[in-house]
Amino acid sequence: MKTPLFPFKAQIIDIKIETADTKTYTLLSKDAAYTAKPGQFNMVGYPGVGEAPISLSSSVTDGIFQHTIKGVGRVTKFLERFKIGDEIHFRGPYGTHWPLDMQSGNDVLIVAGGVGLAPLRPVIHEIVKMRNFFGKVTVIYGSRSPDNIIFMDEIETWRKDIEVFLTVDEIPLNMKWNYDVGMVTKFIDKSTVNPLNAYAFICGPEIMMLFVSKGLFFRGFLPSRVYVSLERRMKCGIAQCGHCQHGSKFVCKDGPVFAYKEITKLPDGLL
């Protein structure tokens, strides 16, 4: 029996620069049977450096999938120097996924902040592909400034199928910006989705998810249909190392995607 900590190898077959500190890596898994659902994550790493939890930012097709990674620490900064053709290791997929219900024609509201759009991108792809199965769909994506936006060129292509609000907290001097300005919460009221019939998926800094959830409840969304993806420190991804414990939950196994009401008011959380 192999340890569940045993990783697979993957080859980097493409790299796209998203922002000054964020890149999207296209990976080819050496494990052909690998699949994952939108919202799940891998432990991505390299020998000698370690591993970090990273969401899939695409679906998996023939062992090919994407990770969109912001360089902030040991592992993620190390990955910045990698080139096409290099190998890394990964294991997964772990955790829960966004509950995309295609049966009942619901509306969907997606709210993302910063690199938090990465785990929601495969959901958006799925919706665009199966557009007729959903009602009204809105994406609200906010970022600190125009140069922190990821998937910029792709976002434009979503607009023909779904309602998109693209907003930044502020515009630096001398920078051109044709979209919105202001916090994501400002756009909750502008979305045309019907709260009583909608699912909401949120990912971003926890404080942002707090304000967005509150805004949604105020507009009539049901706490049982509002989902968030939490970030915690993780070493194992398999509910053993204990770092991600949040109340009695293991964020890696019981999450990272939670219904809001599952994780509200837990100790040391903001929600």
Partner: protein
């Protein structure tokens, strides 16, 4: 697993004997031919679980050891999990641990329960093969307690001073003076137990429960776990967390290290000088460490009070994780805290003066 209910291996006849102690220790010595044997020994001023070279090394009248046998010989404090080589590409090697049959003798009921708890962590949704192989090849011989120490509160959480659970270990001993009452609790135990002793008769069990009754009266520490889940939930901001943390806690992590059910680990990579060989190992980690819950741009338990609260609530609440309360009432975290923080006292303070 040896006789564990977890594998459904329960199809043997329970049998119980009265065995003279010296005969029992001879039996342990015969087992040394096939097994490595670990048990409590006396070391200067304290007791510890060590490998023994003769049953005469055993000190069965021991008081709680600093480390529990489960977190020494089944879940190892530090252990290699993978090896890598980097040549033209990455090669990944598993670590294969050989099967070594071992026996741990003289485990107090609380420490048996702590192993049953670790089973949930390492043999649950994700199976840890290193834990599993040792668990399956370890015979657990429990020993009901003969004395209650200052910090014991097992009777409050149902894990002692006598073992009540009927499976998940192999043998349980009760000290009856010159003899042990030997109760076989697994198929494996009934296969290896080859001494002819008196069969235990009903009066013996009366004697056993009388002894247990007497022992139950000598507990000085207790905790009322009724309604704790809800109480904690309503008292997350109780002053006891902040006061204890500010005035006493050193964040030294002793409490976590000696806790027989604290399972958290860190994973560390270590690279050879030529940068080609990498050893990946795991080692015990502690929620009291400042970095434990740190992420980019924040730390979910930056305050010492949050970390202390995490330790206490994880031990006494969070039964929803595995359906079991985590604490086994061994009292080690109290004994080894350099500033004598006592979780049972913290709980009593909240119960006496709740916020709501």
């Amino acid at each position: 697993m040896s006789g564990s209910g977890m594998t459904g291996e329960n199809t043997f006849q329970n049998s119980d004997f009265l065995i003279k102690k010296d005969i029992f220790f001879e039996f342990i010595d015969t087992l040394r031919r096939e097994y490595r044997v670990f048990g409590p020994v006396k070391e200067k001023n304290h007791y510890a679980f060590r490998e023994i070279s003769s049953a005469s090394d055993l000190y069965m009248d021991y008081s709680t050891t600093m480390l529990s046998p489960g977190k020494m010989f089944i879940y190892k404090p530090k252990e290699d999990v993978l090896r890598f080589r980097i040549e033209s590409g990455i090669s990944i090697e598993e670590i294969r641990y050989g099967v070594e049959k071992q026996i741990i003798v003289g485990i107090h009921p609380c420490d048996i329960h702590s192993i049953l708890y670790l089973d949930r962590v390492f043999l649950g949704d994700f199976i840890d093969p290193y834990y599993k192989i040792r668990r399956e090849n370890t015979l657990l011989i429990a020993l009901n307690c003969t004395k209650v120490l200052e910090n014991c509160f097992c009777s409050s959480v149902g894990t002692g001073p006598y073992l009540k659970v009927q499976s998940g270990y192999d043998i349980v001993l009760t000290d009856l003076g010159d003899e042990y009452l030997v109760e076989l609790k697994s198929l494996k135990a009934s296969q290896i137990f080859n001494i002819k002793g008196k069969e235990a008769y009903p009066d013996i069990f009366k004697l056993k429960s009388d002894k247990e009754e007497a022992l139950l009266k000598s507990f000085r520490k207790s905790i009322d776990i009724n309604g704790l889940d809800e109480l904690f939930f309503k008292n997350l901001n109780h002053p006891v967390w902040i006061l204890t943390a500010d005035e006493k806690c050193l964040s030294c992590s002793n409490c976590v290290m000696v806790c027989p059910t604290c399972f958290c680990y860190d994973i560390v990579d270590e690279m050879s000088i030529n940068l080609k060989e990498i050893r990946r190992f795991r080692q015990l980690d502690a929620c009291q460490d400042f970095k434990f819950a740190e992420v980019h741009g924040g730390n979910y338990r930056q305050r010492r009070a949050s970390r202390l609260r995490q330790f206490v609530i994880h031990n006494l609440n969070y039964t929803s994780q595995y359906g079991l309360i985590k604490t086994v009432g061994c009292g080690r975290c109290i004994t080894w805290c350099p500033t004598k923080i006592d979780l049972t006292e913290m709980v009593k303070e909240i119960q006496r003066n709740p916020l709501h």
